[in-house]
């Protein structure tokens, strides 16, 4: 998102190309650039992920801590998002320049992830009105190369899956709630191997067996 100066002729060339569904690098209008996903990159977090989409580089860390449920939702835990648009990403973010964008992205993430099909918030609750799990999700923009919302949402999703895999691997019997919460209810639990499998054409996720985990409720 750093501003690039272009001549009039270059702008005309790009616009005409887009009208014919051919971008400058040969992609169609709806084609994505190749994405690289890496999980478990930050050691002192419950889960982390790093996503590279072209020149955009996003790092996400998730920390799980105990907290008090919010007053209006006493039976649910919650996720807290913080997006840091550092000046490393692009010179426009110098000083307070990145704060507005960070708040906008954090609000969008809140809307995406606070619904039943993404995360089961009731499973994050330990005892109603007293204790619940709070997942602090920190997003750091390392480099800004366009398409921030897509890259950040992929990174947050990957980090949350990494959190679940880490907690299962460590057999954290005190945190079955988190494991349960981060299962997508659309995919049925089954005897598939516990791997985040990244295929070439479709983003398929296979989630682990549940036999050894005490399910809450």
């Amino acid at each position: 998102m750093a501003s690039v100066s272009l001549s009039e002729a270059e702008k005309v060339y790009i616009v005409h190309g887009v009208q014919e569904d051919l971008r400058v690098d040969g992609r169609g209008c709806e084609d994505y650039r190749g994405v690289e996903v890496e999980t478990d990159v930050v050691s002192n977090t419950s889960g982390s992920a790093r996503v590279r989409l072209g020149h955009t580089d996003i790092l996400v860390g998730v920390k799980a801590e105990m907290g008090t449920p919010k007053l209006e939702k006493p039976n649910e835990g919650y996720l807290e998002f913080f997006v840091d648009c550092s000046a490393n990403a692009t010179p426009e973010f110098e000083g307070r320049g990145g704060d507005d964008l960070g708040t906008e992205i954090a609000n969008t993430l809140y809307r995406i992830f606070h619904n039943k099909s993404s995360v089961d918030l009731e499973a994050l609750c330990i005892s109603p009105r007293e204790h619940c799990w709070v997942l602090y999700v920190d997003v750091l923009l390392l480099e800004c190369g366009g398409n921030l919302f897509d890259a950040i949402s992929i990174a947050v999703k990957a980090a949350l899956f990494n959190t679940r895999n880490q907690l299962q691997a460590n057999r954290w019997n005190t945190a079955p709630g988190i494991v349960c919460a981060l299962l997508s209810p659309d995919l049925p639990p089954g005897p598939d191997p516990s791997q985040v499998s990244i295929a070439d054409t479709r983003f398929r996720l296979l989630h682990p067996r549940l036999d050894h985990i005490d399910l809450v409720g």
Partner: protein, 293 residues
Amino acid sequence: MAMEMRLPVARKPLSESLGRDTKKHLVVPGDTITTDTGFMRGHGTYMGEEKLIASVAGSVERVNKLICVKALKTRYNGEVGDIVVGRITEVQQKRWKVETNSRLDSVLLLSSMNLPGGELRRRSAEDELAMRGFLQEGDLISAEVQAVFSDGAVSLHTRSLKYGKLGQGVLVQVSPSLVKRQKTHFHDLPCGASVILGNNGFVWIYPTPEHREEDVGGFVTNLEPVSLADREVISRLRNCVVSLVTQRMMLYDTSILYCYEASLPHQIKDILKPEIMEEIVMETRQRLLEQEG
């Protein structure tokens, strides 16, 4: 709508079997090149404590008694006679400031610029006021280096009709050390597009104009839509240039052409995938070696 995801992989090192017989002598700043004092020192070296020491990170080149170090990654250092492609950043009183990927902005004086129609006269005050009509901020030009100031800033001129403002096309920015020095940097490739390989690392790919307008000097830009076939050639060339640069190969007309031909079986957008890029560049290297030896 399908997205392609992959895990990051370390790039494979270029196989040493294909290539030079002698290994390059790589140095970093502070390394001793030689203790023999009989050599003349060239760019990138300095004399200290009776030895020749490198001041940049790169490979040592030796021509008879002259030793110099060619830096691997550097900003553009102007030499008189180089062709550059630059972007106008500022319009000042009697000159334009041009960005050429060097340490200081380059300068294009109003008197070094051709007037439309190729007239020869002293530049008047009206010309000065009309400067923005010729070249604005953001415009791309091709020019030649006229002189280099003592602080390293470069002075450009467009005193020939083949230089001037550039029209529709695609700009690729690469490292200046990857552009091979040749007799001519303006190439009309047989695949249907033309390319200008600026010594400063700016590569300009554009559709070949049908007829050469001799007396315009690039002042009238053609804003008509470029045909889809030409666009595909230009996009493919752009991706080929990016692949060659990622694999650190020298850029010149033959290497770009061989890379283009090697990429024809693949789709344009697939060229940038790491495995296909390696395959194409490997084929290009083999063809270039066969052609040389």
